[in-house]
Structures are given as C-alpha cells and as structure tokens.
Subunit: 236 residues, 2 copies
C-alpha cells in the first residue's frame, strides 16, 4: 500500500495535493475504494480510502490514525558539513531518513567545501524518503555555522560525539561508545576534517572525540555509518 | 597524498596509464619529485615518486610497498538483488568499497526488477572508490542467478544470513547475530522481497533468516546497513 504526505491530517476527509493526486491517477492508477497510507511527518500515520479520483484533486476519507510517540524513542541528531557535490547530501538525507534520524544540521566549518545549502530541495528529498519508508517523523533540517551549532545545542541533553580523523590515539572508537543518554548528536566534518580548534571548542561543549575506525570515509559515508551504528544500538 | 590504480605493481619503475597521467597533470598539477600512493587492488599499496611528467604518460619509481594480508581479516560478501535504478547500485558499490567489502554478487531473484547489470561500469566505480579511500583490495564483482549463487557458495566457510522482511517472528534480529566464523555472507533481496521458496532454499544451504529491524529499507540501503553492521563488528 503506497504512502503519501499531507501536512495537516486533522480533518477526516480532504483533498490531496495536485502532486499527490497526479501520482495516484497517472503512475499508480488507483481507483475509488483503494486504500493508502498518509503521513503528516509529525508522528501521525493515517490509513485512508480514496473516495473520488480526479486527475489533480483526489479526495480521501481517513479510516484510522496511529500516532507514533517519539518522546520515548532514542533520537539521533546528525550534524554534518555539507558536501561540495549536492548529490551526496541528497543521498545522505534520503538514506538517513530511511534508517532513522530526527534532525540533520548542515554545519559550515572552517574547511567546508560548501557554504550554502538548498534546504528546500533537501526537504523534498526527506519527504519523499519518509513516504517511501512509511515513516512518521520528518527530521528537522537546518544549516548553520559550527559555532552557532555548538551554542544552540549547549543545553541539549544527549551523548555528544565529534568524529575526528586526526589524533586517533585520543579518540574513543565508535564500537566502544556506551550511550548514557536517550539521545545522541554526532558531528561529522568536511573532507579536510575539523580543525584542532573546532575539536577543542566541541570538547569544551562536552563532545567526546571519536574515531570511526582505520579508514578515512567520505563525509556522507561517515555520516551514514554513524546513522547505522546508532540504529543498530537501538535494536540491541 | 592522492592514490592511483595500477593493475601490475611488480616493476619498480613504470608509466602510469593515460587516464591516471591526465589526472595528475590536468587536475592535480603534480610535478616531478611529488609522491603518490598506488594500489593494485590485490593487496599492495605502493608509495612512489613521480619521475617524469608527461600529459598522458607520467612515469613513477616505487620507493616502498606494503602488502595488506587479507587472509587473516574478516571478509564480507554482499549478495544483493540489482536495483531497477542503476544509480542506486553505483552508490552501493562506492559506499561498500569505502566501508569494507570483499565481494559483491548481484543476484537475479524471482522478484528482481533488473536482470542485467553493467559490470564494467560497476568495476570502474569500485576502482575509483578504492583509490579515493586508499584501499588495497578491490572486491570481486559478479552477477548470477539466485540458485547459482547458492550452489557456488555451498562449501564456503562463513556465517550466512538472508534478510527477509516477511515472517519476522522467525527471524534473528541483526543486533543479536553472533559471528562464529571469520567471514560472513549477507543476502539482500529485491524491493518485492525474496519468495518464501528462495528463503527455504537458502535455509537448506545453511543461511540464517534475519531481520534488519522494524523499518523496510530500500535494497541498497539494506545492503549498506549490513555492511556498516559488519564493519562495526570488526572494530569491536
């Protein structure tokens, strides 16, 4: 059963967006009486029956709603330097949403190869990935400087980690991390790595320096690796 | 220091390929006396000095060689149904090589959305990823049917797992896997999942049925997730 996105799921009957309606009629060729899932990206997944099929204005009636309470779930906040190639960021957003992430912050660091991020495009990628994986919560996406990020998260209660390629002798290896809090924040640097000053500033904000093993991974690969490690820790 | 690929590293001095030479002269603008890494994808990583710079025929002299003995290392064999969209397979190959994989088999199953795979292109992607990550071993890549795959690996000594979305009650969750052997094989199915007959056949070949958690992941995401889980288990 395919899944669609609708920002507001408070009403029991409504008309789907033109984009979603076209997908229903032209790609999927669904008919009145067929059932679909609809997510609002704010925790609600609704089951709905198609009541009328119009090329760009299909109507639905919700038959049930399930609310996914995330307050008890372990939350991952990925803070990653934007990649020079935008495809790589889009790939990361899609994969991280599939596997599980609650927030993705694009951090402009000293060695960042990119200073601007097309947040609208990444938001659309995130919504598409959410629908595809029948997820319930769209991650918060934002772009900010490294120092703003440290400041905004200074009071956040979470295990905080910064992945650093240099100085491995001082790093805890990711396999040896023991999560103390419910939530976690991982800082992943640009291809040129964080500067030692950035690492020092992060440590002053209670970030622990970690290593992801022997290999040096691309930024988006490293970010996805920690996403998988965190998802695995939730299953355990 | 950038890394290049050369199939045969037995000689101490040789000429790099036209492709690698052009990259040196036009993109990187290296000069005689600069050092580079060269991998042969068969375990040897050599350090070499550029002796002559010609636009498409740079010459090098090897100053040292290191052999990465993989016979003692844990090996991952990813067996995955090819995706309909070839980009997704290319992402998977690139990321799996970065994180660590020794063999990728593209398995044509009952529900496979694609029957043919451009192995030459994927081989080039793998080599590029190997150079980028300064790896030493290029994974073996092949495409074969599900039953051929089971037959070819029937004598292989490895922990063998098949990820199945259905029938989760009978599955071991990936976080509860305990590796008994040095090596592992993971079977990842197409978007339509394996058939119950395929799962039964795999079990008769000593594959254990596993679940990757609650979420249903895209084929290439699932394959990357198990690659990360295996890499993490090696670090532990």
């Amino acid at each position: 059963m395919p899944c669609f996105f609708q920002e507001n799921l408070s009403q029991d009957s409504f008309t789907l967006s033109s984009e979603e309606s076209k997908h229903i009629t032209k790609s999927l060729r669904l008919k009145a009486g067929d059932y679909i899932w609809i997510t609002d990206g704010k925790g609600t997944l609704a089951k709905a029956v198609l009541t009328n099929i119009f090329r760009d204005a299909c109507t639905v009636a919700i038959t049930e709603r399930v609310f996914d309470d995330k307050s008890k779930q372990k939350q991952l906040h990925l803070a990653v330097a934007p990649t020079k190639n935008p495809d790589r960021m889009e790939w990361l957003v899609e994969k991280a949403v599939e596997i599980g992430v609650s927030q993705i912050s694009f951090i402009i660091c000293d060695h960042s190869e990119r200073k601007n991020v097309d947040m609208n495009r990444l938001q659309r990628i995130a919504i598409a990935a959410l629908k595809q994986s029948k997820g319930t919560w769209i991650p918060k996406l934002k772009a900010l400087s490294f120092s703003q990020f440290l400041q905004e998260n200074s009071e956040t209660v979470a295990d905080k980690f910064i992945a650093y390629c240099d100085d491995k002798a001082q790093s805890i290896e990711i396999s040896n991390i023991r999560y103390q809090q419910k939530d976690a924040i991982f800082l992943i640097g640009p291809e040129g790595d964080f500067t030692s000053q950035e690492v020092q500033a992060a440590k002053e904000h209670h970030f622990q320096q970690i290593s992801l093993g022997e290999k040096t991974l691309r930024t988006e690969t490293a970010a996805l690796f920690v996403t998988c490690c965190f998802a695995l820790s939730i299953l355990t």
